[in-house]
């Protein structure tokens, strides 16, 4: 049992010993639990204090593993990186920050991932829990290319651990051949989901996006921790909306939009753009920015603690912060990359569907950043129950 202490004994080691003593009689099971939990235990201990950057500018390793959101990098950019600098890139993707964090927590230092891409609000706690390694700024000179607006955000004031990768927002896409009226707001989305698009709706497979949907539609601050609001959200999502949902899909742009799998899909702007561009008949799809309120998320490049290829990781981050590379990324993923002057460059290059990438000041006013707070666990529970209820 004592091996398990680090999981929750950060507060008081004296108390932990007492607890451990009480459970000595369960020695066998404790032993088994401790033995296999070894990796996890290390994962939960506090940062070891080794804050010195590990990459020193030595020769690049021959590999690089990136754990990121789906369809989130231009394959040509990755190929170019390998061609120019050597390391072969392996990609792995997740659906939500929770999923990525759970993997890192379960295998700190042994996950094998070099670069991870957390959303801003998750970064402080990831740092606190020792999941991220510090940058060596000397190896990322292209940091100078980033628009100062996107540097030094409150989740990482000195960009010690992260730098903006892309930012975007949440809205929805609908099939105009199946939904003939005009949808403008989250309320319209829900109304269509429960009427003409019932059984033909997909939602993002991400806890905060589900509770967010309810809060945005009902004029409630989506960072609320008010139990009454959360109860109401759970009741609506699990007991009312779930039965109308056909799929939980974080990337409808990948398959669902091109293959017209659903009539109505909650989506992130860049993914929606990919899907519409890939569709055989782009005109049948309508993108709607979440209204009257929606999310503003900012994903960040970060290096995982225990990254096996730190030099290559720094080189890659530096590579993608190059303005030209960044423009290629934007063209592919459809998200603002935060590099200075990218909007003008994109317009000059005549890229398609830029209204899904760049937003007007009025639209930006509707977007609000999320928070990782006491409601986090509750949101995960609601997500869990809603998924079970949708299959009932």
């Amino acid at each position: 049992m004592s091996h398990e202490q680090p999981v929750r004994i950060l507060a008081s080691s004296a108390a932990s010993r007492m607890i451990a003593a009480q459970y000595n009689r369960r020695r066998f099971l404790s032993f088994a639990a401790a033995a296999a939990g070894a990796g996890l235990l290390a994962a939960c201990s506090s940062p070891d204090g080794s804050t010195a950057p590990r990459a020193t500018g030595a020769a690049l390793e021959d590999k690089l593993t990136i754990y990121t959101w789906g369809d989130y990098d231009d394959p040509d950019v990755l190929a170019q990186f390998t061609a120019d600098l050597g390391p072969a890139v392996t990609l792995d993707s997740f659906n939500s920050n929770e999923e990525m964090i759970s993997k890192l927590v379960a295998a700190k230092g042994t996950s094998g991932y070099d670069i991870v891409v957390p959303t801003g609000q998750f970064i402080p706690q990831m740092v606190e829990n020792g999941l991220l390694a510090k940058f060596n700024h000397d190896l990322i000179p292209n940091l100078k290319n980033v628009d100062p607006v996107f540097l030094g955000r409150d989740w990482d004031p000195n960009n010690d651990y992260s730098v903006v990768k892309a930012w975007g927002t949440t809205g929805f896409v609908y099939d105009k051949t199946k939904i003939t009226r005009e949808l403008k707001t989250w309320k319209d989305f829900i109304d269509a989901a429960m009427n003409e698009a019932s059984g033909d709706v997909s939602l993002l497979d991400d806890p905060a996006e589900l509770t967010g949907l309810y809060f945005w539609a009902n004029g409630i601050d989506w960072t609320t921790t008010d139990a009454a609001h959360l109860d109401a959200a759970e009741d609506f999502l699990v007991n009312t909306l779930a039965s109308h949902v056909a799929a939980f899909d974080s990337y409808p742009g990948g398959v669902a939009i091109p293959q017209s799998q659903h009539a109505l899909m909650q989506a992130w702007n860049g993914d929606a753009r990919i899907g519409i561009l890939e569709s055989a008949d782009p005109d049948r799809w309508q993108w709607v920015l979440g209204n009257p309120a929606t999310e503003l998320w900012a994903d960040n490049w970060a290096i995982a603690e225990g990254a096996p290829h730190p030099e290559a990781a720094h080189a890659f981050i530096n590579h993608v912060l190059d303005p030209e590379v960044s423009l290629a990324e934007l063209d592919y993923i459809g998200y603002h990359t935060g590099v200075a002057g990218i909007e003008d460059a994109a317009r000059e290059a005549g890229l398609e569907m830029l209204d899904l990438v760049f937003f007007t000041p009025e639209q930006l006013d509707m977007m609000h950043t999320g928070e990782v707070n006491d409601a986090q666990q509750r949101a995960v529970e609601i997500w869990d129950k809603m998924k079970a209820a949708a299959g009932a």
């Binding site: 049992m1 398990e4 999981v7 929750r8 607890i19 459970y23 369960r26 066998f28 099971l29 404790s30 088994a32 639990a33 033995a35 296999a36 939990g37 996890l40 939960c44 659906n95 939500s96 929770e98 999923e99 964090i101 759970s102 993997k103 927590v105 379960a106 706690q125 829990n129 997909s202 806890p207 699990v238 779930a242 949902v245 056909a246 799929a247 939980f248 899909d249 398959v255 293959q259 017209s260 799998q261 990782v372 986090q376 666990q377 995960v380 529970e381 997500w383 869990d384 129950k385 998924k387 079970a388 209820a389 949708a390 299959g391 009932a392």
Partner: protein, 318 residues
């Protein structure tokens, strides 16, 4: 099995007492099984023990996955709450229906393959059953997305031939999951059944015919009972992994085809709630064990008249 009942009581008395081995020899012989025991302990008993242990704990916070300093059955109450319980029922439905469909397809096919098909074709036919296995499970399953898509070629074909009036609407339903699992697990049923039917040698069937049994009667009374071990293996090979499958359900079932395996995976991968995930895993294990036990009990009871009749015919001095 029918012959045993006729002479078993008699021979018991005549059997000489088993030769006793000195005790010191027993130790080393048992040691031969040591690798197997070590393997089972390390990779079966210990993990299951851990899952059991975690299931009595709770989730302490966002960056912790489980804690066991307070033990309770609360996670089981959660796992069995109506919301999640429904998923176990759905899983059981898919598991039982899927296994039955596999069995219904495999019995005639494996019988034909083992008995009727020409010897020189058998190798190729078996290879055709196996070769899809060489392709990645996930890719094979995603392939069905394209076939079953409402605007896919299959849907178009059905509409063009007039079989359907509107686009095919099975994607993201439990039916799609059922199609997927039957496709994915069918070879696991065909192979043991093929081996079982193959071992029912021709002379036995000929003897049955010589004694006056028709084709159907031979199949029911001779072939099927002798193939029973293979059938049981096939059922278990299909039913157990099918109940825990979550890839097929994720790819083809969408939100409607949710299965228990997905719930467990969600707890470990996204919710990071190992305590609840473990409790769900234990409930899933119990569901499989209990349902399998019930199925075999039912099968045993249902075959009672058949066995009783067999005994009467062969054992009575008529």
């Amino acid at each position: 099995m029918t012959t045993h009942s006729t002479n078993a009581p008699v021979t018991m008395l005549d059997t000489p007492p088993a030769r006793r081995r000195p005790d010191w020899l027993k130790g080393p012989r048992a040691a031969l099984a040591l690798p197997a025991w070590a393997w089972l302990t390390a990779f079966f008993v210990a993990p299951v023990g851990m899952v059991l242990w975690f299931s009595f704990g709770y989730k302490p916070g966002i960056f912790g996955t489980h804690a066991n300093d307070r033990l309770s059955f609360d996670r089981y109450a959660e796992a069995l709450s109506p919301t999640f319980f429904q998923t176990f029922q759905n899983t059981l439905w898919v598991g039982v229906t899927g296994t039955l469909i596999c069995l219904a397809i495999s019995i005639p096919f494996a019988y034909w393959l083992a008995v009727k098909a020409a010897n020189r074709h058998r190798g190729i036919l078996l290879a055709m059953v196996m070769i899809p296995f060489w392709t990645n499970f996930l890719i094979r399953t995603i392939g069905w997305q394209i076939i079953l898509a409402p605007e896919g070629w299959f849907s178009g074909l059905l509409q063009a031939t007039g079989a359907l009036d509107e686009p095919l609407d099975v994607m993201f339903t439990r039916t799609a999951v059922l199609i997927g699992v039957v496709y994915n697990y069918l070879p696991l049923m065909v192979l043991p059944l093929f081996v079982a039917f193959d071992r029912v040698i021709l002379p036995l069937r000929e003897a049955s015919k010589d004694l006056g049994a028709g084709r159907w009667s031979t199949f029911i009374n001779i072939t099927l009972p002798l193939a029973k071990p293979g059938i049981i293996v096939g059922i278990l090979l299909v039913y157990i992994p099918l109940m825990g499958d979550y890839i097929t359900a994720t790819v083809l079932g969408g939100a409607k085809g949710n299965m228990a395996g997905q719930m467990v995976a969600n707890q470990f991968q996204t919710a990071q709630n190992w305590a609840l995930g473990s409790a769900m895993a234990v409930v899933l294990i119990l569901t499989i064990l209990i349902s399998a036990a019930i199925a075999f009990l039912v099968a045993w009871l249902a075959s009672w008249p058949l066995r009783a009749r067999g005994r009467l015919v062969l054992g009575s001095p008529k």
